[in-house]
């Protein structure tokens, strides 16, 4: 199939392109930019006049809820949400039921995702069996089955010896370990940022030091092992400062942040709104501002949606009993644009926002995605940067309808999503 995208403003940060160009796609790959290859006759043309043509988005944290939690969401529903959000490659954490600690489970998930023929699904394998923090998984076998890295999701490793060995073993084979910095004990049972708001509302707190102490431990282990670590979803100003210093020191680390934490603070909990219950918790304005700055200066490499579909039964509960997390796939683009709008000089806004959710994300995850050079996979997100839309449950394809942004008007909406040269979504 030959596809031509005409008259769009192509923004491909990896290749330093920001101009009106036609894109020519042949057999799932980008065949040419600007002028048509010899003998090219389009089977289909998409008119992108007035629209932005970008690489398909790469989301570093998407809970698909399969296997095990199909009542919350299914692969079908969430991959449809991914396309509606322009996300063509996504990384999913291993905290499914059963957890992704056996090659067979990973193969099955990858096979199910492939047969749906939609966005590319890249699972993270469990770092330890059952995510229990005791025995290592068969990382080499899991990699062969399709894992792109190893993670503990929300489970911590209490025994630092196990974490040390996990990093040594991963380093042996060059695998990346994805860790969310969280002390196993500090803030255990906490449901909100430790601070005046949690004290006032009587909510158990998660202190910032639960993140910073974990970061210090991880950095010390990285120094000792040389293992490559990706730090998931930073939440605090102090955490960002530590990561900045560790990067300056030359440690092989990268980091991401959930899109919610770029915009919201603990004050958004309001009168116990369980939609604002997140892991890690939404923190103070100072933390939020430091995170925005960290994304702007590259301390934080990528923005992810931290997509977590939660159903009504688990959300319409008292704040402390409600499941944490929010739907995010379909908000990622608009929230990244909103970040750039508020934190980046005007001229670089669009390319900065796009970079954090395409090429930068692909680079830290080691994925063949996020750019549109000639010969690369033709995964594209074509969007209108100016359209405003109201976030409401009925506007979301995801089975998860809960988000603290319900009722917000956001700017930037996906018009077409193309995976491997096939238009798979249009609005």
């Amino acid at each position: 199939m030959k596809l031509q995208i005409t008259n769009g403003r192509l923004i491909d940060p990896a290749n330093h392109i920001d101009a009106i160009h036609d894109v020519f796609i042949v057999s799932g790959k980008v065949a040419a930019i600007g002028s048509a290859p010899v003998g090219f006759i389009a089977d289909q043309t998409i008119d992108a006049t007035g629209l932005i043509v970008a690489p398909g988005l790469v989301d570093l944290s998407v809970r698909l809820r399969e296997p095990g939690y199909e009542y919350k969401a299914t692969l079908e529903s969430e991959l449809h949400a991914a396309l509606a959000g322009g996300v063509t490659s996504l990384v999913c954490p291993p905290d499914t039921d059963p957890v992704l600690d056996e090659p067979g489970l990973v193969e099955m998930l990858v096979h199910r995702a492939r047969s749906l023929n939609q966005s590319h699904v890249y699972p993270l394998g469990a770092l330890t069996m059952g995510l229990k923090g005791r025995e290592l998984t068969e990382m080499a076998e899991l990699t062969e089955a399709g894992c792109v890295g190893f993670a503990q999701a929300e489970s911590t490793i209490e025994d630092t010896t196990v974490l040390l060995r996990a990093l040594q073993y991963a380093q042996t084979f060059g695998y990346t370990v994805w860790l969310r910095p969280q002390d196993p004990h500090l803030g255990k049972g906490g449901i909100a940022h430790s601070g005046p708001l949690a004290s006032r509302l009587g909510l158990a707190g998660v202190p910032v030091m639960s993140e910073t102490i974990a970061l210090q431990t991880i950095f010390e282990l990285v120094r000792a092992t040389g293992a490559r670590v990706h730090l998931c979803r930073l939440s605090s100003a102090d955490g960002v400062a530590l990561v900045r210093a560790a990067k300056a020191e030359g440690l092989p680390i990268s980091s991401d942040v959930g899109a919610h934490h770029l915009h919201l603070t603990d004050v958004d909990i309001g009168f116990f709104d369980s939609n604002a219950r997140m892991t890690p918790p939404l923190r103070s304005q100072r933390d939020r501002d430091a995170i925005r700055q960290g994304v702007a200066d590259g301390t934080i490499d990528a923005i992810c949606s931290d997509h977590t579909p939660v159903d009504d039964d688990e959300k319409l509960l008292p704040f402390g009993e409600a499941s944490p997390g929010a739907t995010g796939l379909e908000l990622l683009l608009a929230l990244a644009l909103k970040w750039a709008d508020e934190s980046v000089p005007e001229k670089q806004r669009l390319s900065a926002a796009i970079a954090r959710i395409t090429t930068d994300a692909a680079r830290v995850a080691g994925l063949p995605a996020g750019q549109l050079g000639v010969g690369s996979a033709a995964d594209l997100c074509i969007f209108d940067a100016d359209t405003r839309w109201l976030v409401q449950a009925s506007a979301l394809a995801s089975q998860g309808k809960h988000t603290p942004f319900l009722g917000y008007e956001l700017q930037g909406q996906v018009r077409h999503t193309i995976v491997a040269g096939r238009p798979v979504f249009s609005r």
Partner: protein
């Protein structure tokens, strides 16, 4: 953000917390309560203000004392009272909180008095009643997690006003486990709303929540310092389970540093009053000589508590 306890005219629709209540509303509750104080002394201890109304006591967490005072207050207002001990019924059958509410609302409940172990649970119920367009059903928070116990806070304000008349020149100390105490939070909001110039919180660092100063209190870790010259001492109950874990080493050591003894009481003003929300742990947070002494107003608090709850319920039912 809509404050769910006030209706669009700024009147009290539910009583969920003292925080954010206009001073005039708090004062009106206290004034209304004074008109009910005498009812308990009459031969016929009843007024017909809530005749035909159904009050459901929904206790998701056990409490005999608070439930009983709400029950008495409802009955003195001539309401029908239904006590539901939910921890032993629906919740254990897996019914969700909001399903329980829908079912009871379908039985034409007029008021829910809610006690729940989770901070904010009464807000969920109030918001659900708003979302399902049932403005005639009212919620009274009878204690939610560590968050609030507004009727206790109001009865404490009533007691202070009864003995001290004027809030504008008082120094009030709240002593003990502030971290876990919904009573402390409600008292602090009540005191600051009514214009008390100095509210002190006294306790060891392990029992003081972070950012407490931002609630408008002066924090003391030395009890002798904190009690100097105060007009009112509010002692908090120290729950036994706080002794396990790393919050406190022992009840004995706690009493040594933070127990209210006659010697410590002497540091306060000579006419200082001593309050306690009950039940007391004698010898842990308070010496018997103080608890039973002339300055203690702990039993009057209980009596006033009925009148304050009558005031809150009758005002909500009439709104």
């Amino acid at each position: 953000m809509h404050n769910p306890q006030l209706n669009k005219h700024g009147e009290l629709q539910h009583l969920l917390t003292i925080e954010g209540l206009p001073r005039a509303v708090v004062t009106r509750i206290l004034d209304t309560a004074s008109s009910f104080v005498g009812v308990g002394d009459r031969d016929v201890k009843k007024v017909p203000l809530m005749r035909g109304k159904s009050v459901f006591n929904l206790f998701f967490e056990n409490s005999t004392r608070t439930r009983t005072t709400f029950e008495i207050a409802s009955k003195r207002l001539s309401a029908d009272v239904i006590n539901l001990n939910i921890s032993a019924s629906s919740a254990s059958k897996g019914e969700s909180l909001l399903d329980t509410i829908d079912n009871l609302a379908a039985m034409h409940a007029d008021m829910f008095v809610v006690r729940h172990a989770q901070s904010g649970a009464p807000y969920l119920i109030a918001k659900h009643l708003i979302d399902t367009h049932q403005p005639h059903v009212h919620v009274v928070n009878a204690g939610d997690g560590r968050h609030a116990h507004p009727t206790q806070g109001l009865l404490d304000m009533y007691t202070i006003r009864h003995y001290k008349k004027d809030f504008s020149n008082l120094t009030v100390a709240v002593v003990g486990d502030i971290l876990h105490s919904r009573v402390a939070r409600s008292d602090i909001h009540g005191l600051t709303t009514l214009g008390v110039p100095e509210v002190r919180a006294i306790g060891p660092r392990t029992l003081l929540p972070t950012g407490l100063e931002q609630m408008g209190v002066r924090v003391f870790t030395d009890m002798n310092e904190g009690l100097k010259g105060v007009d009112v001492i509010i002692m908090l109950r120290l729950q036994n389970e706080r002794m396990s874990g790393a919050l406190l080493p022992s009840a004995q050591e706690y009493f040594k540093s933070y127990g209210l003894t006659p010697e410590r009481l002497a540091l306060a003003k000579p006419d200082a009053i001593v309050m306690h929300p009950g039940p007391m742990n004698r010898g842990v947070e308070i010496d018997s000589a103080v608890a039973d002494g002339a300055q203690a107003v702990i039993l009057p608090q209980v009596t006033f508590g009925i009148a304050v709850r009558m005031a809150v319920m009758s005002m909500l039912a009439g709104s």
